[in-house]
């Protein structure tokens, strides 16, 4: 598929995009996380698209998934209103404070720390300690 963006034309492999997006969407809605960190590499590396076209468009794609996942979880009775209301203000504040702190930190170091944290958490979930 041909995609035009800001005067440039790109060739987007929609078979890779849709298959990958479909699989990421299943996992993301099944486990309740946002698919961003997986979608961006899929579109930049898998579909060979430049970063500046990916940022906005991947967000749009993920939004479709989040919207549908939310509706389906609600249908199956997995949505707890009170629990939602507890976390809503917390994430709101976090989303506001986060970028302020982010300006002062090196993203590379943050990512390495996150990497270590994720591995620890993963090993915990896999029951290895």
């Amino acid at each position: 598929m041909k995609v035009e963006f800001w005067g440039h034309e790109f060739q987007a492999n929609m078979i890779v995009g849709c298959t990958g997006g479909f699989l990421i969407a299943i996992m993301s809605s099944m486990f309740g996380f946002g698919g961003g960190p997986f979608m961006v590499p899929l579109m930049t590396v898998g579909m060979r698209l430049p970063m500046y076209i990916v940022v906005g468009s991947s967000l749009l794609a993920i939004f479709f998934n989040t919207l549908m996942g939310t509706i389906r979880h609600y249908q199956f009775g997995n949505f707890d209103l009170l629990f939602f209301l507890i976390m809503f203000p917390a994430a709101l504040i976090g989303g506001y404070v986060g970028p302020q702190i982010a300006k002062r930190l090196s993203p590379t170091i943050v990512k390495r720390v996150a990497c270590a944290g994720l591995i620890l958490l993963a090993l915990k979930l896999l029951g290895l300690y």
């Binding site: 598929m1 800001w6 987007a12 997006g21 699989l23 990421i24 969407a25 299943i26 996992m27 993301s28 809605s29 099944m30 486990f31 309740g32 996380f33 946002g34 961003g36 970063m51 500046y52 076209i53 990916v54 940022v55 906005g56 967000l59 749009l60 794609a61 993920i62 939004f63 479709f64 989040t66 996942g69 389906r72 979880h73 609600y74 249908q75 199956f76 997995n78 949505f79 707890d80 009170l82 629990f83 939602f84 976390m87 809503f88 917390a90 994430a91 504040i93 976090g94 989303g95 986060g98 982010a102 993203p107 996150a114 990497c115 994720l118 591995i119 958490l121 993963a122 915990k124 896999l126």
Partner: protein
């Protein structure tokens, strides 16, 4: 890309709770299968409790008298609050060799259920605990002679659905099957009880101290973080007859109330009470960290929530997901203002993701908490690898170029948006 974990989404209250009608037939003699039992000489046990109110858990002393020499069991359950419980049966049937693929669902599970057995059964109980995760509730009840006092959950209304691969793909629960007969309902209810409460300690306790003269005392410990509302206790004395059906003598039921007060609140879908400050703080810290590392907070928040708090994974996944809706919506709005979204590309991949999002939540129901943790563990390892790759020098150099172009384009986009406005 920074995907902020801001909450949004309004909703109507979703809590359809059916209350179990608990027939409190006064003192009566019950025999499970054989009716006319000659129990004339044996009196039903009596029961008293020392207090009728506890504050987010506590200890209730239960005393009473039962016919001398008989073991005394206590059945304790939350009679006001029920929770949804489901179980997907995909284990091969050892008799027929076929996999049933049946989905069991009830809305009537008591938010608390426990059977207390005599203290002299402590050894037998420890043996069950030693089995670890392989323990079976129905076998444990039998081993302790408590299967005859298992009453309340056995009467839950359980729906069963025949799940097919096709039905799962289109995201339906499958065909609703005929209701089960009371005996099978009882057996299936035990499996659901185990799914809900999981551990031996939550379901069984050897705390009833029976004296030779038939008087008994028990310290019934109600832990904190349980459902508020009315709880009931019934005492049973069981006369095991050699070769015959055991005679079960049942006491009146006594009621006490578990009260909770702010900041402890009851999450009705999850069936537990929580001090809401902790999940709030956790969500706050995780969402800040999520912004910093450039991945949604759900990756860290969900596994922590199911590990730290007694919350079902379905509720965690189903409640955290909507929280990013507004953040994403506002992000899309901001990008669209500066024309930074390619609608064709986004909607094209989005339509594939729409289908994926339709199927995913169905699969959450079909897996157990342990499977949830296991798969999530692997997902996190992949994510960690992705994160590490993003800190390698090669990626950083490439990214620097990309970011410069991105900035340049953003500037141009903003300028043109301004010029128009």
């Amino acid at each position: 890309m920074k995907q902020r974990n801001i909450f949004g989404f309004s909703s109507a209250l979703f809590a359809v709770f059916l209350f179990i009608a608990i027939p409190i037939a006064g003192a009566q003699t019950e025999t499970p299968a054989a009716p006319a039992a000659p129990a004339a000489s044996l009196a039903n046990p009596t029961i008293q409790i020392d207090k009728t109110e506890i504050d987010n858990g506590g200890v209730i002393t239960v005393t009473g008298t039962a016919p001398a020499g008989l073991p005394v069991y206590l059945e304790v359950w939350a009679s006001e609050k029920t929770v949804r419980t489901n179980r997907f049966d995909n284990k091969k049937d050892p008799k027929t060799g076929q996999i049933p693929y049946i989905f069991y669902l009830t809305y009537d599970m008591p938010a608390y259920y426990k059977i207390f057995v005599p203290t002299d059964m402590k050894g037998a109980l420890d043996e069950i605990k030693a089995k670890g995760k392989a323990w079976k509730y129905s076998e444990a009840l039998k081993a302790l002679g408590a299967d005859v006092v298992y009453t309340v959950p056995g009467k839950m209304k359980i729906d069963r659905y025949k799940a097919t691969i096709m039905a799962s793909i289109i995201g339906s629960r499958g065909d609703l099957l005929e209701p089960m007969d009371p005996e099978e309902n009882r057996q299936r209810s035990m499996q659901l009880v185990q799914v809900r409460f999981k551990s031996v300690d939550k379901l069984l306790g050897a705390d009833v101290d029976v004296k030779p003269d038939g008087t008994y005392t028990a310290q019934v410990k109600i832990r904190s973080g349980l459902a508020p509302g009315k709880y009931e206790i019934v005492a049973f004395a069981v006369d095991k007859k050699e070769g015959g059906k055991p005679i079960v003598l049942k006491s009146d039921s006594v009621t006490f109330e578990n009260k909770i007060s702010f900041p402890v609140m009851y999450l009705s879908t999850a069936g537990t009470s929580l001090n809401i400050i902790w999940p709030f703080l956790l969500a706050l810290v995780v969402s800040i960290f999520g912004v910093l590392m450039g991945a949604g907070g759900g990756f860290i928040l969900n596994p922590l929530l199911v590990t730290i708090f007694p919350l079902p994974h379905t509720v965690v996944a189903g409640t955290v997901m909507p929280t990013v809706l507004f953040a994403q919506g506002s992000g899309i709005y901001n990008y669209s203002k500066i024309k930074f979204i390619n609608w064709k590309l986004g909607a094209g991949i989005g339509s594939a993701m729409l289908v994926g999002g339709f199927i995913g939540p169905k699969l959450t129901e079909l897996i157990t908490l342990d499977q949830f943790k296991f798969v999530f563990g692997w997902i996190l390892l992949v994510l960690a690898a992705l994160m590490f790759w993003q800190t390698t020098p090669g990626y950083l150099a490439k990214n620097k170029k990309e970011q410069a172009i991105l900035k340049e384009f953003k500037k141009r986009a903003e300028e043109s948006a301004k010029a128009k406005g």
